[in-house]
């Protein structure tokens, strides 16, 4: 299966983007992804754009809001309560 993924085009522009500074690599998004398009190893998480079906399940699954639609305004780092 690793072989199959290696052959896929990993688009530079997937529908969902990951903010690596906010991602804790917890795997919640992977568990809820019906397309198996989120790949995680010990250090990083990435979305395989060509497999993504744009269901958006991964976005609210992330406790920290590390995932967002590509056109979204993710990553301003602003949160409530001074945290």
């Amino acid at each position: 299966m690793g072989k199959i993924h290696a052959r896929l085009d990993i688009k530079a522009d997937p529908p969902v983007v990951v903010n690596p500074r906010r991602c804790d690599l917890c795997g919640a998004c992977v568990g809820v992804c019906p397309a198996d398009c989120i790949v995680m190893d010990e250090r990083s998480l990435s979305v395989i754009g060509s497999l993504c079906i744009k269901c958006g399940f991964c976005i609210p699954a992330c406790p920290l809001g590390a995932l967002a639609w590509n056109e979204g305004d993710n990553g301003d780092g602003r949160m409530t309560n001074g945290f």
Binding site: C26, G27, A28, V32, D36, P60, P63, L64
Partner: protein, 391 residues
């Protein structure tokens, strides 16, 4: 590519995986246990609460990985009304999962399993439709492990099952998006576990405050993904902390996903068993999964070793696993799932009324069972489930 051969290969050294490896090795199988992270038990992604009575059925309890013992729970309705419930026969334990998980892996190693960290499983070996082992990458080098039986104990993000064609995806309604802080300088009653419920507090879930010491607590939240937006868990939790523990300091924080689903109907296929969060062996009402993961892992290890010894690792040869899970996990969790669905139908006002009503009764009637029976009295068909769930 380097190739190795084992009877049983276990993916993931959490409670399910280590117990599977331990049990299979005890039964004489040649076992390999692979962990992706460099240190087993780290990072922690758990509230760390477990029933001491249950845990003692599986392993000897050790003080070094027990952070705290509690004598009951306090449940807070949305308006802040707290209901304190003492437990007579139960001892609630809050673990140090980093030490606990490593201890379990050490038990597996002592039983004879070969344990390896930094081993990132990135594929499975399939021959004639059956799972025959895994591929893993360690320090940039890819390895192949051939095994008669593979046990996928790779957590909520499990991919081993998917690669083998099992449907392991969780729906948004069946996943809790979770976040937790370790807070120091907390003023609270450390003799209890505290639970805060309500649609505003934690939509589709709850906030917990579990003691680690007299002044240190794990304060966490789970929210149902279908009721959340990006970052809801973090935002709701930090709001709670800023109002309840404004003077506390953060000494740790972690994210996670908690499967609160019905258990998988058939968590196996030819040459493969799934256990723990990977098979949704997590109580869908409480989100508690340590004990059931250990139990399922232990069963998986036993079935795997037996199947190897008998020379039949097909679905049929592994089907004893389903029978073992049925009574202890499947029935219990299906019941818990029905109660969860009932609880989700409660409005905040109904929860407030429940708290007031149970507090008006004699303290001898203050049991978890009665709290749920009162809360869900408008859904009488759940009564039997509640009685059986909280005997």
């Amino acid at each position: 590519m380097a190739s190795e051969r084992y009877d049983v290969v276990v993916v993931g050294a959490g409670p399910a995986g280590s117990m599977a490896a331990k049990r299979a090795a005890e039964k004489g199988a040649k076992v390999m246990l692979l962990e992706r992270d460099p240190v087993i038990g780290s990072p922690v992604r758990c509230g760390e609460g477990v029933s001491g009575v249950n845990l003692a059925k599986l392993i000897p309890l050790q003080e070094r990985w027990i952070a705290a013992k509690v004598k009951g729970v306090v449940i807070y309705a949305p308006d802040g009304t707290g209901v304190t419930i003492h437990s007579e026969k139960e001892i609630g334990l809050i673990l140090e999962r980093n030490l606990f998980d490593r201890y379990l892996a050490e038990l597996a190693a002592e039983a004879g399993a070969c344990v390896l960290t930094r081993a990132d499983v990135d594929g499975i070996v399939i021959e004639n439709g059956a799972v025959k082992g895994v591929y893993y990458t360690r320090l940039g080098r890819r390895h192949r492990v051939e095994a008669a039986v593979t046990v996928g104990a790779d957590g909520v993000e499990s991919r081993v099952g998917r690669w083998a064609g099992l449907k392991t995806q969780i729906t948004p309604a069946d996943l809790e998006s979770a976040y937790q802080f370790y807070l120091a300088g907390v003023r609270y009653d450390h003799r209890y576990c505290h639970f805060y419920v309500g649609h505003e507090v934690a939509p589709g879930g709850y906030i917990w405050v579990f003691p680690k010491s007299e002044t240190v607590a794990s304060v966490g939240i789970g929210v149902a993904v279908n009721l959340a937006d990006a970052g809801t868990a973090y935002q709701k939790l930090t709001h709670f902390i800023s109002t309840h523990f404004p003077d506390a300091s953060v000494v740790g924080e972690m994210a996670g996903g908690v499967p609160v689903a019905r258990p998988m109907k058939v968590p196996l296929t030819d040459g493969l068993l799934l256990a723990g969060d990977a098979a949704r062996h997590c109580n869908p009402l409480t989100g508690g999964g340590i004990f059931t993961a250990m139990l399922a892992g232990s069963y998986a290890g036993e079935v795997a070793a037996d199947a190897v010894a008998k020379g039949d690792v097909s679905r049929k040869g592994l089907s004893a696993y389903l029978r073992m899970l049925e009574e202890d996990i499947v029935k219990v969790h299906l019941r818990a799932y029905r109660i969860k669905e009932g609880v989700l139908r409660l409005t905040d006002e109904m929860m407030n009324a429940t708290a007031r009503e149970v507090l008006s009764r004699p303290s001898s009637e203050l049991t978890i069972r009665n709290v749920f029976l009162t809360a869900l009295k408008h859904q009488p068909r759940l009564a039997l489930d509640i009685i059986r769930a909280f005997i």
